[in-house]
Symmetry: C2
Subunit: 324 residues, 2 copies
């Protein structure tokens, strides 16, 4: 069995690699678990810090280049995790880049898969940036996407294609709409929700962080550990369980920024909280404040996806896994 | 003022041409009505049967060809009606053709508009084939699209782009999700809902027609006359009235096939009804039976769109306009 992770050099990609290598086996589309002999990690930069493992193959290149995709996927790939994306803030500022990577490259990958010998299982990292408009309304599984960002628009368009390509038997797709992933390790990035991790991660390491929204703003979050489990679980779920749509809103936690700050204080004291600056940012607010933050994720729960127990468990896991 | 109708040789396009020529003036985006001096009708075949009018310019060509689009839209076009499409049955049978015309050509047109001197008003003919899954559920304005056809998928993808291009100020878009249009004049076409018009149109002219679904099947319909009015009205509505989405489900009528047959009998007697054959068609059913047929169209009504009064008024208008 051959697995390819597109966009695998990011921290979620790497977490996924580690989990897969540790398991060594995976179930696809309801079939019995099976060992894989090849795990290809592809990104625009070479993934670093991965273990020395004969099953692992690290590749770098341009996801928009068809020859690169052809070489990566070959005639036969059983499972593709498609995590590659230009993040929300960057896709908003650079429209062409977002359209090329988030939409056109994804369309090209689906089209390549269509002509593979056997329809691969493809797990796509979509986003709850799919929703917007009136962010105070609860999002249900049958709520219309209404993205208020180019990133969200591009994600929903690919979700739709994944459904149609799956319906036609071209691929075995699953599109997971991710909550804001927190707490991310590493450095701030150009995601509009980057601050959600920063206000925990930086103070825990004695560094200042800026919160561009007010403490009462609500967020919909999921931990890196749980989202990685969700990706692996999605590959396993049998097609018929999805019924008429391969799109799933993953279960997250609704928390306020204040909840996060309180949890930070509990974990690291008042001096950690004092490292947070509160400077509003109109650009970030114009995107982030359109994201809904209350979800009813009945479909995900029925399909066996799990979110986090609590904010405390998320922060403690981050301290445990990333800071120790 | 310059207007271009893409896909204008079809019967709705021609109806739109006649209405526009008669009015001579139109209001765009809430501005005062203004006379137009150029109305370009473009299609893959030359539109025939249009009046001799110095404002009218008839063009034929391939909508997938960028040079053709460049020549049609030039540096400046105030209003574009984008009605060009590969119909549902054809897009289902020929995936590549549907993707090229319904998705790729539309993307190319939007991208061309993005770089025009002034953002044009663009009215797009989307479709209620956007919806599906559990067709017994009422579709509200905030119900998630869940197309069960490639045609529906392609339409929803363009709707999403129209929203994003409008949000960014690249175009002044409006996407109207059309019910099944009935009664269409002319010959049956490859739309999966072609029979909806056939079972009225053919018997009224003494010809046999086949109904591939059972009499209790419900449909969501709008007349050619009213949908044309909706297109012109959509161009007029000021942008801010749409709030966070340019997509509108047009108001239709929910009728059963039996209602239609009864109305036919009322208009043309028992002998007309006896011209209908009842041969099921698995392919047509696999698409048509996924279309929802109950809609709450509060947004359309609030924006001033009007549907038909009754099935009788639709059939009488067809007899009046097309058969006399």
């Amino acid at each position: 069995m051959r697995i390819v992770i597109l966009g695998g050099a990011g921290f979620i990609g790497k977490k996924l690699v580690l989990k897969l290598l540790q398991r060594g086996r995976i179930s696809l589309n309801g079939r019995p678990v099976e060992a894989f002999d090849r795990l290809v990690v592809f990104d625009k930069v070479k993934a670093v810090g991965l273990p020395d493992d004969s099953r692992l193959q690290v590749e770098e290149g341009d996801i928009c280049d068809l020859d690169t995709i052809r070489e990566l996927l070959g005639n036969h790939t059983d499972l593709i995790f498609h995590l590659a994306a230009v993040v929300s803030g960057e896709a908003e500022k650079n429209f062409d880049l977002g359209m090329n990577v988030n939409l056109q490259a994804s369309m090209q990958i689906l089209e390549y898969c269509r002509f593979m010998k056997k329809a691969p299982v493809l797990v796509f990292a979509s986003s709850c940036a799919a929703y917007g408009g009136d962010p105070s309304k609860e999002v249900r599984d049958d709520t219309a996407p209404n993205p208020q960002s180019s990133y969200g628009t591009q994600k929903v368009m690919v979700d739709l294609l994944i459904n149609d390509y799956s319906r036609r038997g071209f691929i075995e797709g699953r599109a997971l709409r991710l909550p804001t992933i927190a707490v991310r390790p590493g450095k701030p990035n150009a995601a509009t929700t980057s601050f959600v991790s920063s206000i925990i991660r930086e103070p825990l390491q004695g560094q200042r962080a800026n919160c561009p929204v007010s403490p009462d703003v609500k967020l919909w979050i999921l931990s890196p550990d749980k989202v990685t489990d969700c990706f692996i679980h999605a590959a396993h779920i049998p097609a018929q369980a999805f019924k008429s749509s391969r799109v799933v809103n993953l279960p997250g936690l609704t928390v306020t920024v204040k909840d996060m700050v309180d949890a930070l204080e509990k974990a690291a004291g008042k001096e950690a909280v004092e490292l947070i600056d509160w400077e509003p940012d109109a650009f970030l607010q114009s995107i982030v404040l359109t994201f809904p933050r209350e979800f009813a994720t009945g479909k995900a729960l029925a399909l066996g996806f799990h979110g986090d127990r609590s904010l405390e468990s998320i922060i403690n896991a981050f301290i445990e896994e990333e800071l120790k």
